[in-house]
Assembly symmetry: C2
Homo-oligomer: 155 residues x 2
DNA sequence: TCATGTGGTTTCGTTTTGAAACCAGCTCAG
DNA sequence: CTGAGCTGGTTTCAAAACGAAACCACATGA
């Protein structure tokens, strides 16, 4: 059977994972944040088979996460660049990074680090503020089911 | 061939995705945040085949994201509960949720929403602060390679 | 005690992944 | 302008993962 798709779900998490939840996609996006743009750059960085990379890039373009642009170096080739939708994944990638730092390294093991470009110092932790500014953790928030919205009750 | 594993990489994002990047895992974690604990609850919520669910749960337990606990209702069954490592995925799940809200719904389409439990109001956006408190976006931060560690700096 | 619910495992067909070979269009040295 | 090598793929084929359904053991509860 085909890979299960969760198109109808009202859960934004499921929809997000449906779009970019296949493991390679977010790594491609991570590399795109790091400035990679060309097919060959992604392939070298990720070390995955070219057919898979081609399929993933096609998918990400179809999703609107990446878009094809003429090469910036004047050659006749093309580049894959993040769209605004793709750049929106920034916090997701950072979240994965911070979790990986916390839980996936042996003590003392070397790792790359995310630094604030203008100050050259590491960034702080992601924060989830409530309306009043308090920072929320896993036990402070719950998902509320989608309100069964009648026609145009927005606002 | 085997599914490619990125064990040696110094990139925390890759390690994180290696652990929970298979699509179902983060949905299971999402459901665990929502209070689901039993095999049958996950299966009903996600609608995936039982063999797949069993394999994923085994994996997540092996990774230390979930752990088995005796059922809280006194029966002889067991429950899957988030470990601290698993709860650490909170910001990742929230990040996916907010991205999904922003980019994966048609305007006006109903969606579930994450609310601050104590105030019953929706949470704000995730934020990534720099050391000085400024909030950083995709263009304000850059990954710095792991420091090349000399010979026996391994402690 | 026997029917049912829970939490799986097994089996088997389909889909996806991955490696390698292949190939077409571009680029560049000569 | 020409041929060698690069870039960015596609094709082919085997191995692995996924998914549905059947099966099964133990717990529960009427």
């Amino acid at each position: 059977m085909k890979r299960t798709r969760l198109e109808g779900t009202p859960c934004p998490v499921a929809r997000a994972l449906d779009a970019v939840g296949d493991g390679w996609s977010l790594l491609i996006v991570r590399d795109a944040f790091d400035g990679l743009r060309r097919f060959g750059e992604f392939q070298k960085s990720l070390g995955l088979a070219k057919n898979i990379l081609a399929a993933r890039l096609r998918l990400l373009v179809a999703e609107g996460v990446l878009e094809l642009a003429p090469a910036s170096d004047g050659s006749a080739y093309q580049e894959y660049v993040l769209t605004p939708k793709g750049r929106g994944l920034f916090h997701v990638v950072v979240g994965l990074r911070q979790w990986g730092e916390d839980h996936c390294f042996a003590p003392g093991e070397e790792r790359s680090v995310l630094v604030d470009l203008s100050a050259e110092r590491p960034v702080r932790r992601l924060q989830l503020p409530a309306q009043d500014g308090r920072l929320l953790g896993p036990d402070d928030a719950v998902v509320k089911k989608a309100p069964v919205r009648k026609a145009r009750a927005k606002r």
